[in-house]
Point group: C3
Chain length 261, copies 3
């Protein structure tokens, strides 16, 4: 897989990535798209989300601070994305923490076609029907074969499933990749998970194969994170350097460091 080629495509095409996301990490989600070379837009008024999605190349949905109104706006935007045939990433942030989240995820998965479901271990386990709970939005331990969970959910929903963690798992109905460039510091910063979904959406906007796009996006993101952690004194300098490293990321850096299986 040539990860760096897809990054170059992002930089050339500057895809517009429409987000309906949470109020906590909304800035970081926008900014990660920007430093990758894309163009982020965040809009959630039901009156305009379809039109905004219509000029976009990907749609990223994140239920971190969901409300009924926001979910309705997501559905409108998602239907427009389906019609236009652009990829939708759904970050199932906090799945398993409350019944409300679980219900709304179910509604989204039933009423629109989601192309990529992304979450941490306990969130994806929950979406796949296992009886696990999530401690707020941080992953709980899941004693099960995550690769199997991802593959089964991918098959069941006919979509890509991404489980992020120290090792990311990216499964489609017929293939499965692992990205092993993650590092522990990413867990100590709020928003690295949400940004991962935005990165995936940005790469999906320019890639034909969504599993490869998700994989490439995560790999580029995490290679930059490895660079950033080496020049950081803690989580906040790490986060700042992460943006800089993504902006300055060279194809040769990725080629030399990517660990994809």
């Amino acid at each position: 897989m040539k990860v760096s080629d897809l990054l170059e495509k992002v930089r050339e095409q500057k895809p517009l990535v429409h987000h309906i996301t949470n109020w906590v990490t909304i800035y970081d989600c926008a900014n990660i798209v920007k430093v990758l070379g894309g163009s982020p837009v965040m809009a959630h008024a039901p009156e305009e989300v379809a039109q905004m999605t219509n000029i976009a190349s990907a749609l990223v949905l994140n239920i971190g601070t969901l409300t009924n109104d926001l979910i309705e706006a997501m559905k409108i935007a998602a239907l427009a994305a389906n019609k236009k045939n652009i990829p939708i990433v759904l970050d199932v942030c906090g799945a398993g923490a409350t019944k409300f989240r679980d219900q709304k995820i179910l509604e989204l998965l039933e009423q629109v076609k989601i192309d990529i479901i992304k979450g941490n271990a306990s969130e994806i386990a929950r979406v796949s029907g296992l009886d696990v709970s999530t401690k707020g939005v941080d992953s709980s331990e899941v004693n099960t074969d995550l690769t199997l969970v991802a593959k089964q959910l991918a098959k069941q929903k006919d979509c890509i499933v991404v489980i992020t963690g120290k090792i990311d798992i990216i499964a489609s109905k017929d293939k499965c990749f692992k990205v092993k460039n993650g590092n522990e510091m990413m867990e100590h910063v709020v928003g690295t998970g949400c940004m991962a979904a935005s990165v995936i959406g940005t790469f999906a906007a320019v890639g034909d194969d969504l599993a490869i796009a998700a994989c490439a996006g995560l790999c580029a993101y995490e290679v930059a994170a490895e660079q950033a952690v080496n020049i950081s004194s803690g989580p906040a300098t790490f986060k700042e350097k992460l943006f800089d490293c993504i902006f300055n990321l060279k194809s040769s850096d990725i080629d030399a460091s990517q660990r994809i299986e």
Copy 2:
């Protein structure tokens, strides 16, 4: 008071701290809990706030960008917290700036049990009934004995009252502490007050004595701030270093620097 012991408890127990807060500093509030070692969650849909509070160890409410809907969600969450007997911190952000804020604070204080009321000098003076106004969300000068104000309000509401400033005042109905580790740079960054409430909530989540927890939290936060200001060139580098310094804060640093009376 052994401040560092409580910080170690936060790091060991990783308490889930549920926030219903403002849209300005929501990220920073989450991130400060994270770098302390806790697990933040921000959720405000009325359908899920009770359940989210039920899995949390503390609830932090901040009215910085309040609306009627948000206040109603706060009440639901607060009743759940009262029932579960976990501490609630209320940041009375902007008290005295508008009648709407004053009314909503009154409603919250009447309808639910708030364990810790936190604000700057003019906000707390206003909540205690004095005829002062707040210039937006920044403190106005208050020509009164703040310690007395805090003590009286604590007695009246049977709760802990925290007035943040260069010297923080923490009063319960029968004791009063002062934390003298504050520094001026904190006034030049948006969000240091909001983050203080999140820090207090995180410590309250693991402490038995809420006055001591509030005091210890502020002390740890401000010792880290003193370290950060020494390696900063202005308010933005200060804020970044503050997160790093909290993450790296050693018990011995706190023990050597804490100035509590």
Copy 3:
């Protein structure tokens, strides 16, 4: 034009600048006002916006993540600002991206008196009636004489029109300035445009001549940006250093570097 004199007035008077803005860059908008020496407040509940505007010295409106409710709050606040005769800056963020935005901008311009309309090239072209579309919130190329567009719109609406870009254009009905201190790095960070509106609002709060205030604000902001870019390794360190440089900005720095025509 003595830009540094107006910066000193901001630092002395510490004007309260009320914002009703978007959820993406709301923190940065507040923080830029703070590091300039002003006092930001963000409040959008319809019940309190008039009273909050009444204690403020300027009102900044930004439609980046507009909803019908938010626009109604903006109208209430704007009428209060008009009555009190304090300046209103409207950032027409995303004009041309959707019909909803265009309609709401039209409503605002018809129902209240906006003192300063601010946008990027394609946004302002759209507001002036040209048939251009905006790619989300990033500027599209506009093949027209921007200075003429700004002047005509200023005359038509009897207000100041600001087009931000590498060269900023500030037009009133009878004069026109250009600020040439912009640099390319500003385009690589989400929020530099929104912050520009907050800077303009802060300077407008203390200046008598709004065109000069807008011009001076942008010049101070961009001189600090030039300093910041020289000590940065990418967009994120740039943004952080920008806040520090504004906080530390000296009159002599501005006097030596300002490029206004």
